[in-house]
Amino acid sequence: MKLTVASSPHIRGNFRTNRIMLDVVIALLPALAVGMWMLGIRALLVTLVCIVSAVAAEWLYNVITKTRNTIADCSAIVTGLLLAMTLPHTVPYWQAVVGSVFAIIIVKALCGGLGQNIFNPALAARAFLMLIWPVGPTRYTALGVDGVTAATPLHHMVMPALPEESLLDMFLGRCPGSIGELSALALLLGGAYLVIRKVISIRIPAAYLGSVAILTLVFHKTGSPVEWMLYSLLSGGVMLGSIFMATDYATSPATAMGQILYGIGCGILTVIFRYFGIFPEGVTYAILLMNALVWVIDRCTAPRRFGAKKGGAEK
């Protein structure tokens, strides 16, 4: 009998990378269902195009660079799915393909692969698409910043005016927008699932949404402060961004305090970009900007050393 001599621990928990990725997919299904229900079958087709091209890009990269096949970790599925969630259902398929390939090859693989990328692949790809096929205020039908037509709720708020949709409609997703950002309810359900499954901690979404809520309450533009705040939280990509994008492991801090600061940073930037930016939406750029700060944030928010004086005298 050959006994294995290896380092402790000799038992491990049943968390697995591909199980985590699968949980993210499951958590996005309600939002995808709402997208299909509101926008039709093309929402599903765009999603499938994104997923298939992301997985294919990963496979091709592995083949070309003669590296280990990494499809089994399921992360490419998540990247493709997340990108699709940010796109309007009217996006040309070939643009969806370009976005997926960009996300997998440029943003992820060339940075060292899973866990090594600095920027959120889905959001970076979305930003890339927006820059090459610029979508001025008149061209929202090509690739909306936030949605399909200039009539998304967020565009009203730029004017500023309250959207035509009721708060309930927006909560349920009965409004125009990108495939995955329509229904706050569906996204919150998915978020709750991820928190219960311990895939994500509630810290980043709570800090993100909390800071957006406080800022829009204090600096409300029109309507009653609470109404403005609720519309701000329900419109655009804040829900999708805070629950599914800002919590991406590779591009968010690992320390508890870091996660809170990062969430607050995303919230502040989102509101600033929305109020003062040239686009109506700020979520994509807010998160991408904060992505760049993750290592610095982690470094500055190391937990207090065990046994060191509270207050940090001993270092």
Binding site: L3, V5, S8, R12, G115, P253, A302, G307
Partner: protein
């Protein structure tokens, strides 16, 4: 009372019921014992006998100067060899090999019968030393030295029965069978150390033991039973002190620096037997468990019994056995040679099949941060791993790698199955080597 908790921690599957089915202890008397001359932290013993000598059970056969406690023959018989022998630490350690004559002729015990208030500390500490008592929870620090360093410096005396490692039930079995020995041992050390608080700490997954203790606790006024919510690594010294008192032992310091002394419950029972029965440490309770052993149970085992003897009595190994571990599954040492003997600090022999959640072929860090959440020492394992691999000693210093207690919570939790503890041991070695230069 204010409820304290320790930081981080995990909830592994405990599998403790496996070894608790057999309630009566079987005593094992091997045909040959191997008594390593070093079973403690400190200087090794020198042999006091020669090959060919006849020895009695309980006879002192090795002793030394300095930080050292003696070792005793655990059977009567003939010394057949004094030679380097495989040891659970993985090294070769000089050992005295005794062929058992099966008569169990025993040294005359030398109990101290006088009431405690007529005993002075030197007398008690001497008895503890002469009985060869070391910390039996795994660390194996000489008991008398620890007690001496705690004299006048502690206000809290702790008996550790957390036994937070999965599978192991040796302390549990001790508390179910002879809890009075533990409480008597605590009474003796209380007399020596004069603490204001004396606590027996148990995790709440040991209901039968807790009931037993509660039944006799009224006979021991002033001793407190603390039932703690089960969580690994509660039994780690610093974590237990934090959970019981809220105090944090500073980096590089000992528990005595925060006024605490912690001994394992088996150590207290051994102290009682040394002082009141006058018998040295020649046997202990050992759990033999795991999916790969036929009859998991607790045995009373003579020190020096080879692992394979115990495994045989427990029905033998499954042919698919992947690992045999001395200690627990989280911190124990995997063995390659089953002729290694049970030593004073051996609380368990675990026989495990291949772990289906085991190491990945290509471990990848997702940066999920779960390791940071579970670390009881508040470290950042994901960065430590990265910088060990990069050989960045300055960063490892900044990340306080040397604070790591190697509890394995991070590696247990890691979805990417990184070999975290293994790399941290390597990193610590690099840091120590760099410091030595």
């Amino acid at each position: 009372m204010k409820k304290h908790l320790f930081f981080g921690g995990i909830h592994p599957k405990y599998n403790k019921e496996m070894s608790l089915g057999v309630t009566a202890f079987q005593r094992i008397t091997p045909s040959r014992v191997v008594i390593p001359l070093q079973q403690h932290i400190g200087a090794p013993c020198q042999p006091l006998v020669q090959v060919g000598d006849h020895v009695l059970r309980g006879q002192k056969i090795g002793d030394g100067e300095g930080l050292c406690v003696p070792v005793h023959a655990s059977v009567s018989g003939t010394v057949v060899a004094i030679e380097p022998h495989p040891h659970t630490s993985g090294r070769l350690v000089n050992a005295i090999v005794i062929d058992n004559d099966q008569t169990d002729a025993t040294m005359e015990p030398t109990p101290i019968t006088a009431p405690l208030d007529q005993l002075d500390n030197d007398q008690i500490l001497h008895a503890i030393r002469e009985a060869g008592i070391v910390g039996m929870g795994g660390a194996a620090f000489p008991g008398n030295v620890k007690a001496l360093s705690a004299m006048g410096n502690v206000d809290t005396l702790i008996a550790n029965a957390c036994e937070c490692e999965p599978y192991i039930t040796a302390d549990d079995a001790l508390l179910r069978s002879t809890p009075e020995q533990v409480l008597e041992g605590m009474t003796i050390l209380r007399h020596v150390l004069k603490p204001s608080r004396v606590v027996l700490a148990v995790e709440d997954n040991k209901a039968a033991a807790i009931e037993k203790i509660n039944g006799i606790l009224k006979n021991y006024p002033g001793i407190e039973l603390a039932v703690l919510p089960t969580r690994y690594p509660q039994g780690a010294e610093k974590q237990l002190i934090q959970a019981l008192t809220g105090r944090e032992v500073q980096p590089g310091k000992l528990p005595v620096s925060v006024g605490c002394a912690v001994f394992n419950v088996s150590t207290y029972a051994a102290i009682y037997r040394a002082v009141r029965l006058g018998t040295p440490l020649t046997e202990r309770i050992v759990t033999i468990s795991g999916e790969a052993i036929a009859q998991p149970q607790n045995f009373i085992v003579r020190i020096g019994t080879p692992f394979h003897d115990l495994i045989e009595v427990a029905g033998g190994l499954n042919e698919k056995t992947e690992r045999v571990i001395s200690g627990g599954p989280m911190m124990g040492f995997a063995q390659s040679d089953l002729s290694v003997p049970v030593i004073k600090a051996t609380n368990s022999i675990l026989c495990l099949l291949k772990d289906r959640n085991g190491a990945a072929e290509n471990p990848v860090c997702l940066r999920c941060g779960k390791c940071v959440n579970v670390c009881p020492m508040r470290l950042q394992p994901l960065y430590m791993y990265r910088f060990v691999n990069a050989g960045r000693l300055d960063e490892l210093e900044r990340l306080n790698l040397l604070d790591c207690i190697e509890c394995g919570s991070c590696a247990f939790t890691c979805p990417g199955k990184l070999p975290l503890v293994e790399r941290f041991r390597k990193g610590k070695q690099l840091l120590r080597e760099a410091k030595a230069k």
